[in-house]
């Protein structure tokens, strides 16, 4: 029921970096050690003697070091601070001293001890509450919400008709033979024109030259288009002359003279 909440309790291994603090008599850091020493002195943390507490701590650390046990840095930092605190408490303060007074330092230590003790107590009170999965339970057989996904399909009449038409057209594709378009290439048209015009120096309409082809070809437009394009090319090359007397009028062509003259 509460597997996620309890599983991790089985992970016994403490992270490696915590282990070294446990070395000092099983304490969780210097504050923990101090708290324990204070508790031995008095139950009320407000009434403890900070001076004797500092002395006890320093004595404890000293005794450990005499036994050649490695002491974690945290404990040594605290020891140095407590030695300083002790000196501030024992030596009367000069008026112009900027440093905090021994009393202020002592109050600071007391505050920290009280706060840690309070947090510990709060933790214990939390743990003793009626806890879910241990004392209080959720529904053992929850009835899950079943979500049914309904697809609502979207399609318009146009989509439907388009789909149908496309398929019917696709169906007739098999009977469709592409019409072979009789297209004159520009090369063909040019050769033909050169042959037809020959040396004729008279103006002759283009259609007259092409009449025999235009009559039989299924698509006269391609013949005219290719021939006209080729004629322009021949003009550019200086082989023929072109003339049109009116818009949409017949297009006359003849062999260019000056070329031969030249």
């Amino acid at each position: 029921m509460t597997t996620t909440q309890t599983d991790w309790l089985d992970q016994a291994a403490e992270p490696a970096e915590d282990v070294m603090y446990v070395d000092v008599g099983g304490y969780e850091g210097p504050l923990d050690l101090l708290l324990d020493l204070a508790r031995r002195q008095k139950v009320d943390l407000a009434a403890i003697s900070v001076l004797s507490l500092a002395e006890q701590y320093l004595g404890f650390i000293e005794s450990i070091r005499e036994r050649r046990i490695e002491v974690a840095a945290d404990y040594l930092v605290m020891a140095a601070w407590l030695a300083y605190l002790k000196s501030r408490l024992m030596v009367p303060q000069a008026a112009a001293d900027d440093e905090p007074t021994g009393e202020m330092l002592a109050a600071m230590l007391q505050f920290r001890l009280k706060r840690l003790a309070a947090m510990r107590q709060a933790g214990a009170r939390l743990m003793s509450r009626a806890r879910l999965g241990r004392d209080v339970f959720a529904r053992g057989m929850p009835e899950p919400l079943e979500v049914t996904r309904l697809s609502r399909w979207e399609a318009s009449l146009y989509d439907l008709l388009k789909a149908y038409s496309t398929q019917r057209e696709r169906g007739v594709v098999t009977q469709y033979a592409p019409v072979e378009r009789n297209v004159w290439s520009l090369q063909e048209a040019r050769e033909l024109l050169q042959r037809l015009i020959g040396d004729s120096a008279d103006w002759v309409p283009m259609d007259a030259y092409l009449s025999q082809y235009l009559a039989t070809a299924p698509e006269p437009a391609t013949i005219r288009a290719s021939s006209f394009a080729s004629s322009l090319e021949l003009v550019r090359l200086g082989e023929i002359d072109l003339r049109q007397t009116e818009t949409f009028g017949p297009l006359f062509m003849r062999r260019r003279r000056d070329r031969r003259d030249a």
């Binding site: 057989m141 979207e154 009449l157 169906g171």
Partner: protein, 218 residues
Amino acid sequence: MRDEVDEGAEVVERQLRILEAILFASAEPLAADALAEYLDRGAPIAERLDLLRERYAGRGVNLVQRGGKWAFRTAEDLRYLLQREQQETRSIPRAALETLSIIAYHQPATRAEIEEVRGVATGKGTIDLLMEAGWIRMRGRRRTPGRPVTYGTTDAFLDHFGLESLSDLPGLEELKGAGLLSGQLPPTMQMPLPFDGALREDEDPIEPDDAGDDEGGE
């Protein structure tokens, strides 16, 4: 005398509370014997369970007995609360749209006929999708070898596509006019006359226990 009754009622209430909590927290239905262990020795467990069942009778959760074991269950009439339907609007897959359009124009149409027009096999999923959408239905079985199922469209189909009847489906000329069919169609091309009326002569009704499977599916 008075006190005794009160005391008795208090004991019963306490026992009901315990049963309530145990049944609520249990991960499985519990037998009366197992429940009795939580009560004072000799407490009439069956009576208590009946009383608890009565208490929950009209509630959102009922105490029910299943195979001799007891459990709380959502009231039958409220079970719908636990079933949520999520509508999602999606555009219909092309295969389904194509199949639907063929059924619409060629109905009654068998799967083989659909495939003839489409040129590809139609998966069962496609037919199922259209059936689920409520747009097509199985009309009957054609009286031909293999007795294939004939499909037709439904009223919901007409409704969705805004058609009053099947005759509203545009014909060949109208499709051409709308530019949906090109002019380059052989003159032999015919448009079918869709029919969604009663079973035709060559159709047999679908028997109630007929799942609608086609034998020669492909």
